[in-house]
């Protein structure tokens, strides 16, 4: 097919491919540096490493402080994901039925993506204090849920667009009230999309560093905060090793999400 396309088109295709490859290299280059550094046998951050070993990866799993960070991140991300999935999926399903004002609500739903995270962190901190509480892990969970909700909302909305609206009407016409329509028709049809969105939301919350840095109380830091603290105190390759693990997890979650939402469309 390609050899039949006119020459200018073929040249454009080549140019675009080259450009795409260059951008990919630029984006992925830090990972190409971090991985060897994490595998370094040296005591200090150094590139290229003079010898290779897995000692820093071993240290992560043996050091209780790093392990606590991982556990904390998983806990916070899991709760935030549940909140974001409920809010985002609910909004996506509800907005489909909205006749008027859909654009306004939609914009409001996406707002957390454009609001600077620092502003959100400060707002949550001051808000909780004004209400008489102390910002802590619960505040952090709530904040991360706010960040992840637009992601869930957008993903589920995209998934819903492939679902025929007549199906909901058919279910109503056959005698089912809305909770039954939701449980029997709408949710099963977007289940895979919701699962994919949950994975993405979990990835986002697990890596989230700004809110975590400002809101986690001392001694309860999540993994990104711990990396940040470690990097400011020492220049050990263990940081590169932890980063490699975090990046690896992100790639694995991305792949899982694509696998969940991409194949077999229910229409």
């Amino acid at each position: 097919m390609t050899d039949r396309s006119p020459a200018p088109l073929r040249r454009t295709a080549i140019a675009v491919s080259v450009l795409g490859a260059l951008i990919a290299i630029f984006l992925l280059a830090p990972m190409l540096i971090i991985l060897p550094v994490g595998l370094s046998a040296n005591t200090f951050l150094r590139f290229p490493p003079s010898a290779l070993s897995t000692r820093w990866f071993e240290e992560i799993f043996s050091d209780p402080a790093w392990r606590a960070g991982v556990v904390q991140s998983v806990k916070v991300a899991a709760v935030a994901t549940v909140l974001a999935v409920v809010a985002g999926t609910g909004a996506a399903l509800a907005l489909r039925r909205l006749r008027r004002g859909r654009r306004v609500v939609r914009t409001a739903m996406i707002a957390p993506m454009v609001i600077p995270q620092l502003v959100l962190a400060l707002g949550l901190y001051l808000g909780v204090r004004d209400l008489g509480g102390t910002a802590g892990i619960a505040t952090l969970m709530l904040g991360q849920a706010v960040l992840a909700t637009p992601l869930v909302y957008l993903t589920v909305t995209a998934g819903l667009s492939t679902v025929d609206p007549a199906l909901s009407r058919a279910a109503h016409g056959l005698g089912h009230r809305w909770p039954s329509v939701l449980l029997r028709v709408e949710l099963p049809l977007v289940a895979r999309t919701v699962a994919g969105a949950s994975v993405l939301a979990f990835g986002l919350c697990f890596d989230e560093s700004v809110l975590a840095y400002y809101l986690s109380p001392p001694g309860q830091e999540t993994l990104p905060t711990r990396i940040w603290l470690a990097a400011s105190q020492q220049a050990s390759p263990v940081i590169a090793a932890v980063s490699t693990l975090v990046i690896g997890l992100a790639i694995a979650l991305m792949g899982l999400s694509v696998a969940l939402t991409g194949t077999r469309r229910d229409t």
Binding site: A170, G173, G175, H176, S180
Partner: protein
């Protein structure tokens, strides 16, 4: 179970536009009525209001003696077959058919019996375990019907039920639909833009135009005795002729109704030979010959008329096939003619028929050939 439907002065506005004007329609229990009209005539809106998917601005809808216009869709007890069937893709055939029974808290054993009976009715027994996406278009249509009928609805609504099928399947399903409707005796209202479908399936056809009903009658009556110009032109081919002093222009036949106006003469009512009983013969020149297999369609120019007359005849009845340029004698087959009511809301703007020959555009030729 089957019930009478009565629509009284139904008016619907959708985002500021009036879609239905003061619609009245009575559908007797157990009968099959088709709403037929061009797109935008309000037929689908009528169906959606009946089902509870669209709200009425004014008017009443009675199912039996119960007003239903204020009820939500899930409390109306109406079966609906969607144009694209809207089968639930994540469920099996049996689960789809069973769906309405779940809302009605029917015990499991009874559900199984009803589903089996419904699948039997649509002649697809034993297909229950299949996923719906494995079905062909015709099978999906039948399953959609089974799903809409399994709970014994008081009314069955069909939205363009055969539009998604190919021509041969459509003809088979017309007969099937009619059989299933007869067997269950369910009051049925269908919407279609296909006149062949409407004429062959229905007990009564309601012709809709611009949010109003132009005429409700049996298929034969609406075709043979259209009440308005719109109906005459929308159904099949029509020659529109002026009426003056109670007689049809050209053929001189007496006309019932208003003494001045327009009447319709169907192409198959004109005969080439001297066999016709009514009125004098008219001499015409053949301008076009279309061989359609079972029919032969001629266009014939007549002195003093802008538009040629359309003539539809059986090829075998003629001694020889006329050719373009031949002079022929036309006669009317005879029968009762009547003056048409002019329609103000029609898409076909019609000039005053008294002003002279029937204007351009008066003879419309929809896709449906002469029956």
């Amino acid at each position: 179970m089957s019930m009478r439907v009565r629509i009284e002065a139904l008016t619907v506005h959708l985002s500021g536009t009036r879609i239905l004007h003061d619609l009245d329609l009575e559908v007797p229990a157990g009968s099959f009525v088709t709403l037929l009209g061009p797109s935008g005539s309000g037929k689908t809106t009528t169906l959606n209001v009946l089902a509870g998917f669209a709200a009425a601005s004014a008017g009443r809808v009675l199912l039996g003696d119960r007003p239903i216009e204020g009820l939500p869709a899930h409390r109306r007890d109406i079966g609906f077959v969607f144009q694209n069937y809207a089968l639930f893709p994540h469920l099996t055939v049996a689960q789809n058919v069973e769906f309405a029974l779940l809302a009605r808290k029917v015990p499991r054993a009874r559900r199984g019996e009803l589903v089996a009976a419904a699948l039997e009715l649509v002649q697809l027994p034993g297909l229950g375990a299949r996923p719906v996406r494995a079905l062909s278009g015709g099978q999906q249509q039948r399953i959609a019907l089974a799903r809409a009928l399994v709970f014994g609805p008081a009314l069955l609504l069909l939205d363009e039920p055969l539009a998604a099928l190919d021509k041969q399947l459509r003809e088979t399903m017309q007969i099937e639909l009619k059989r299933i409707q007869r067997e269950t005796g369910t009051t049925t209202i269908a919407v279609t833009h296909d006149q062949g479908e409407a004429l062959s399936m229905s007990d009564q056809v309601a012709i809709m135009n611009g949010g109003r009903i132009e005429q409700v009658d049996t298929p034969e009556e609406v075709y043979r005795r259209p009440a308005s110009r719109f109906v005459a032109e929308f159904l099949g081919d029509a020659n529109l002729l002026a009426v003056r002093s109670g007689r049809v222009e050209l053929f001189g036949l007496p006309v019932q109704g208003a003494a001045e106006g327009t009447t319709v003469i169907r192409p198959e009512d004109l005969v080439l030979t001297g066999n016709g009983s009514g009125g004098p013969a008219v001499t015409a020149t053949v301008t076009d010959v279309v061989y359609q297999g079972s029919r032969l369609r001629l266009s014939a120019a007549v002195a003093g008329r802008d538009r040629p007359l359309l003539v539809s005849t059986v090829p075998g009845e003629l001694s020889g096939t006329p050719r373009t340029g031949d002079r022929i004698d036309l006669r009317h087959r005879g029968g009762v003619l009547r003056t048409l009511r002019d329609t103000d809301a029609g898409p076909v703007a019609v000039a005053d028929p008294l002003a002279g020959p029937v204007p351009d555009g008066a003879v419309v030729q929809p896709s449906f050939g002469a029956p």
